[in-house]
C-alpha cells in the first residue's frame, strides 16, 4: 500500500501553496511594494509604514518585521500585548479579538494617521479586530495592504458570531490584497485514523509572502537611488554598532522596538 509520509505531505503542501503565490501574486506584490516604497521615501514628511497581524497567531507577522536581521528598520511593527499569544492565548482568541473599539485604540496608540501605509496580515481575514482595523484605517486616509487568504475568508459563514458587524472580509476592504493561499481550515495533513487534519500552514505562508514583499520593497528603493536601513544581526561582530544609528532613530518612534 502506498503510505504517504505525513511530514513530506506537509512540506509538499507548503511547496504547492508557495507555487500558487509565485504564479499569481507577483503583480499584487509589485503594487504593494510600490506603495510601501513611496511611503518609506517620504519618511521625512512624517509618513509611516506599519505592520500588524490582528489576531493570536496572525501577530507573528509583526514579529517577523521586528528587529530581524535582513529586515527593514523603517517599519513600525504593531505588537499589541492583548492581541497576541503572549498574554494569554485563550483570552485573546476566545475573547479580546472580538471586542469592538479595541482596534481603534491600537491604531490611536500607534498614531496610525492619514498618509501612512498599514500592512495587515490575517490569513483568515474575518475577526472583529482585523476588519475594524482595516475600516478605521481607510477612514483615516491610510492605504491598507492585506496579506490574507480570500478562500479562507469565504469559507467562514457570513453570520459567524466571531465576525465584525459589517460581515466584511479583509480582502474586501483592503486597497491591495496579496493572496497567501492558506486553505480553509488552515491545517493540511490528513492522518489516517483521525478525523481532524493537523499541521496548519498559516504562519509559514503569511510570513513567506511578507518576506517576499520586503525583498521587493528594498529592491525598488535601491533602484530609486535610496539605500534603506536594514537591520544587521546583533550577534555578528559589529552588529550592535551597525544597528545603533537605526536604534537611535526609531527606538522612541516605534513602541515595540
Amino acid at each position: 500500500m502506498n503510505e504517504v509520509n505525513p511530514a513530506t505531505a506537509f512540506l509538499e503542501t507548503v511547496q504547492s501553496a508557495l507555487t500558487k503565490v509565485i504564479s499569481s501574486e507577483v503583480k499584487n506584490l509589485e503594487a504593494a511594494a510600490d506603495v510601501i516604497a513611496d511611503c518609506i521615501l517620504e519618511e521625512d514628511k512624517g509618513r509611516v509604514f506599519h505592520v500588524w497581524g490582528p489576531g493570536g497567531h496572525s501577530s507573528i507577522i509583526a514579529e517577523e518585521a521586528l528587529y530581524r536581521k535582513g529586515g527593514l528598520a523603517c517599519v513600525n511593527p504593531i505588537l499589541d500585548p492583548g492581541i497576541s499569544l503572549s498574554h494569554g492565548a485563550l483570552k485573546e482568541i476566545n475573547g479580546l479579538e472580538r471586542v469592538e473599539g479595541y482596534a481603534r485604540a491600537v491604531l490611536d496608540y500607534h498614531q496610525v494617521k492619514t498618509g501612512d501605509v498599514l500592512l495587515l496580515g490575517s490569513a483568515y481575514g474575518v475577526n472583529v479586530v482585523t476588519i475594524e482595523a482595516a475600516l478605521e484605517a481607510k477612514q483615516r486616509g491610510v492605504t491598507v495592504i492585506a496579506i490574507t487568504s480570500p478562500e479562507f475568508s469565504r469559507s467562514v459563514d457570513r453570520n459567524h458570531p466571531g465576525r465584525h458587524k459589517s460581515k466584511k472580509n479583509l480582502y474586501e476592504v483592503a486597497d491591495i490584497t496579496i493572496n497567501s493561499f492558506v486553505p480553509p481550515g488552515d491545517a493540511v495533513v490528513k492522518i489516517p485514523g483521525l478525523d481532524q487534519k493537523v499541521s496548519p500552514i498559516g504562519t509559514i505562508m503569511q510570513c513567506a509572502v511578507f518576506q517576499a514583499l520586503v525583498a521587493l520593497v528594498v529592491d525598488k528603493l535601491v533602484k530609486r537611488g535610496v539605500k534603506p536601513p536594514i537591520w544587521t544581526n546583533a550577534l555578528e561582530i559589529g552588529g550592535v554598532e551597525a544597528n545603533r544609528k537605526y536604534i537611535k532613530k526609531y527606538y522612541g518612534k516605534f513602541k515595540s522596538l
Binding site: 492583548g82 494569554g88 476566545n94 471586542v99 479595541y102 513602541k255
Partner: protein, 252 residues
C-alpha cells in the same frame, strides 16, 4: 507648612478617617474572604485601570500576604504596556468579560475590584460580570471622586453608573481619595501634586489581610501566608504553597 509636611499630614488624616469610617466594612470584607479561604476558593484581585493595577500587586506573592490570591494582571489596563493605550482600553465596554473568563473567575470565589475613580467601563463591567459569575464582589473606590465626575464624561461606562453604587457590589470600602487624587496645591502650579490613592488602597488591602488572619486564627485555623523569600527559612516555608497553587494561579 511646606508641601512635604502637608502631604504627610493629609495622608495621615486620610488613613485615620479610613480607619474610623471603613473599619466595619473592612471587617465584613474580611469575613467574606475568610469564608472563601475555608472553602478553598480563590481571592481574585483586579485593579481596573492605570495605577489601580498596583492593588493586585500589593496583595500578590507578598511577604506577609495571603497565598490564595489570584491577581488579574490585565496588561491592557495597566501602565506597564503602554500608559496611553491603557487609558483608551479601560474605556471599552465588553473588555472585562473575556478577562474574567480567562482567569476562571467563578462560583463562590471572591472578586476584589479596585479602582479609586470607579467610573470606567472595565471597572463597571468587571463588577457586573463578577456577580454574574457567582462571586462575592468587594469594591475599593472613592465615592467623592466618582460623584464629582459628570455623567457625560467620556471615561464613563455607557450606563453612567459608579462602582460604589452598583447593586452587584456586596461590600464597598471607600478609599477616601479626594477628587483628582493629588492633594498638595503649590503656588504657581495649577495642577496639584502628591497623589494619595496607592497609599490609601494599599492600606485598606493590608488591613483586610490582617483582619482575615486574625479571624482565621481565632477559629483555630492557620491562614496561608507567604513568607519572605529573602529571609532565612522563607523559601522552605513557601514550598508547600507553591506546590498547591502553582497550577491554580496564572501568574505564580
Amino acid at each position: 507648612m511646606d508641601g512635604f509636611e502637608f502631604y504627610k499630614e493629609t495622608v495621615v488624616e486620610l488613613l485615620d478617617s479610613i480607619a474610623r469610617m471603613e473599619r466595619e466594612k473592612i471587617d465584613r470584607a474580611a469575613d467574606i474572604v475568610a469564608t472563601a479561604l475555608k472553602e478553598d476558593k480563590l481571592i481574585h484581585v483586579f485593579g481596573t485601570g492605570g495605577h489601580s493595577f498596583m492593588a493586585a500587586e500589593e496583595m500578590f506573592y507578598r511577604a506577609g500576604g495571603l497565598v490564595p490570591v489570584n491577581p488579574i494582571f490585565e496588561q491592557g489596563v495597566t501602565t506597564t504596556h503602554g500608559a496611553l493605550r491603557s487609558t483608551m482600553l479601560e474605556r471599552l465596554p465588553g473588555y472585562a468579560g473575556p478577562v474574567l473568563e480567562y482567569y476562571g473567575v467563578g462560583e463562590g470565589d471572591v472578586l476584589i475590584v479596585s479602582n479609586a475613580y470607579g467610573i470606567n467601563s472595565v471597572t463597571i463591567d468587571a463588577a457586573i460580570e463578577g456577580k454574574k459569575r457567582g462571586c462575592q464582589v468587594i469594591a475599593i473606590t472613592s465615592s467623592e471622586h466618582a460623584q464629582k465626575v459628570p455623567p457625560s464624561h467620556p471615561a464613563r461606562h455607557p450606563s453612567k453608573r459608579n462602582l460604589f453604587q452598583l447593586k452587584e457590589v456586596d461590600v464597598y470600602i471607600d478609599c477616601h481619595m479626594p477628587y483628582g487624587d493629588a492633594v498638595v496645591a503649590l503656588n504657581g502650579l495649577q495642577q496639584k501634586v502628591g497623589p494619595v490613592s496607592t497609599i490609601l488602597v494599599s492600606f485598606i488591602l493590608n488591613e483586610i489581610v490582617i483582619t482575615v488572619a486574625e479571624k482565621l486564627l481565632a477559629q483555630g485555623i492557620v491562614p496561608p501566608i507567604w513568607s519572605s523569600e529573602n529571609v532565612v527559612g522563607g523559601a522552605e516555608r513557601n514550598r508547600e504553597f507553591k506546590k498547591l497553587y502553582f497550577n491554580r494561579i496564572k501568574h505564580l
